[in-house]
């Protein structure tokens, strides 16, 4: 466990994503330890989040606490499972140099950063849970914490990718990305040498940028499918709710209800 914490610390500090390490690939990112750590951190935040169901009702709903502790890590890893294949396929089609293992390690690392930030908000969530009876406030607070930690995790991913490109560009002796060389006058177009080194590398960033949007949307919808996480004190515990509306409408509705004094 201590070793895991050291790994997490190294990742957060950026020691694992130094350009000289990335030049040799991503094999130094321990996938097993990252997944284990992600699960632990997810469960920790889930416990803070599920506390509302225990404290907000006369009969504490322990099942919801347990369910949320499982659902938070599940939310992240299921989102990963849903979006990883498209990342890999589009990346491969567009000529991204990263292999499937590299891509997986990178996004699991970003996911771990996301979960670490989220778990670090745990004490604040628990404190507000202790002093709040408004279900809508807790919902919006959690949405905000998930959004903030998600943005930080994804920004980390794009940053690492940038470093990876630079490291690999240096490794392959390529010059920094520039406009593709225009064909010399009189030269037949077929003779243009479209050397893909750095130009292809920047594709990785584009693919990941699009994927980040997909990931955020799928993550939000996954959260909606897995609800309830917090459990409205007026409702009974169920493991999953039926299909209705979507998370974006619900957040707006919650905001209205909070302003409505509920």
């Amino acid at each position: 466990m201590l070793q895991w914490i050291r790994e997490l610390d190294d990742l957060l500090r950026g020691n694992k994503t130094k350009p000289d390490l990335l030049a040799a690939g991503t094999r130094h990112l321990p996938l097993g330890a990252f997944v284990g750590l992600g699960l632990v951190l997810g469960v920790l935040y889930g416990l803070c989040m599920g506390l509302f169901a225990v404290l907000s009702r006369s009969a504490p709903c322990i099942q919801q606490l347990a369910a949320t502790a499982v659902k938070v890590p599940a939310l992240f890893f299921l989102t990963l499972v849903v979006t990883y294949p498209s990342l890999y396929v589009f990346g491969a089609l567009l000529g991204v140099r990263l292999g499937p293992g590299d891509m997986l390690r990178l996004i699991v690392a970003a996911l771990l950063v996301n979960l670490a930030v989220l778990a670090s908000f745990g004490p604040i969530t628990a404190f507000f849970t202790l002093s709040t009876t408004s279900y809508y406030f807790m919902k919006l607070l959690n949405v905000a914490f998930f959004a903030i930690s998600g943005c930080i995790g994804l920004a980390f991913l794009l940053k690492v990718l940038e470093r990876l490109e630079e490291a690999q560009a240096v490794e392959s002796g390529a010059t920094p990305p520039a406009d593709p060389p225009a064909a010399a006058p009189g030269q037949p177009p077929g003779l243009r040498i479209p050397w893909p080194g750095p130009a292809k590398a920047s594709k990785a960033r584009d693919v990941f940028r699009v994927w980040v949007i997909l990931y955020a949307l799928v993550g939000a919808q996954m959260g909606w499918i897995l609800r309830p996480f917090i459990l409205d004190p007026k409702l009974e515990f169920v493991l999953f709710r039926g299909r209705q509306a979507n998370i974006f409408l619900d957040v707006l509705e919650s905001l209205g209800k909070l302003l409505g004094g509920r």
Binding site: L12, R13, V117, S131, T132, T133, F137, G260
Partner: protein, 229 residues
């Protein structure tokens, strides 16, 4: 002991000696926490004197005295984990020792300014017996202390920001987070002053609630009053 405390306080306020920006960090933090405790307890006790000097209400002084450092330190403790992780992710971990000194120093400065303003609070208490005025006076004192503490923030953050501009963003993150949690903490810890017409209690039975929900309700009531349709 008292002499050492006052000497350290003087050095801290002036940013000299042990508390100079470039001085080594070791040994500073315990002094800073000592300032938070001493200044906080002192101002809290004066704050509670509005109603706490009446016979049988002396424990209001103790309650208020304990609550001010609790407000600052528990808020600090709740916000620290996320601030630490966000700093690490931003690649600023190596500076975290200095960052910690800066943010604890800010709180120390807030409490020392409050302690210095305590006689003014006491004077205003003595000249007006209205509870609402007492609440307002304390609001002004806290706002003044928070604004003055920006001197310490700038002093300790300036070299960090010049080294890496991301520290400026991190400072805004810290202030946002701290104020967000601090407002709710202050709401939960009420009463600080103690309404003379109500019995002395550590926690008000009806205080357990959420400040932001109350603000949302106030906004709604105001809107309803302005646009009654």
């Amino acid at each position: 002991m008292m002499g050492a405390f006052l000497r350290a306080m003087d050095e801290f306020l002036r940013g000299r000696g042990r508390f100079a920006v470039e001085a080594p960090l070791a040994g500073r933090l315990r002094w800073l926490f000592a300032f938070v405790l001493a200044g906080g307890i002192f101002y809290g006790a004066v704050m509670g004197s509005f109603s706490g000097l009446a016979p049988g209400r002396f424990h209001q002084l103790v309650y208020s005295g304990v609550k001010v450092p609790i407000l600052l330190l528990v808020t600090f403790g709740l916000c620290l984990p996320s601030f630490f992780v966000i700093n690490s992710v931003a690649g600023l971990r190596d500076d975290f020792g200095q960052v910690l000194q800066a943010i604890v120093g800010t709180q120390a400065c807030v409490t020392l300014v409050l302690a210095a303003l305590a006689p003014v609070t006491a004077l205003l208490y003595g000249s007006c017996a209205d509870y609402a005025v007492a609440v307002f006076v304390n609001g002004v004192m806290f706002a003044t202390a928070a604004a003055t503490a920006q001197i310490v923030v700038r002093r300790y953050y300036a070299p960090l920001v010049s080294r890496n501009a991301r520290h400026r963003t991190m400072l805004h993150v810290w202030l946002g987070l701290y104020v967000f949690v601090g407002i709710q903490m202050a709401w939960v810890l009420r009463p600080f002053i103690g309404d003379p017409d109500r019995p002395v209690v550590f926690f008000r039975a009806d205080a357990w609630g959420n400040a932001y929900v109350v603000v949302a309700q106030l906004i709604r009531h105001t809107l309803n009053a302005v646009f009654p349709f």
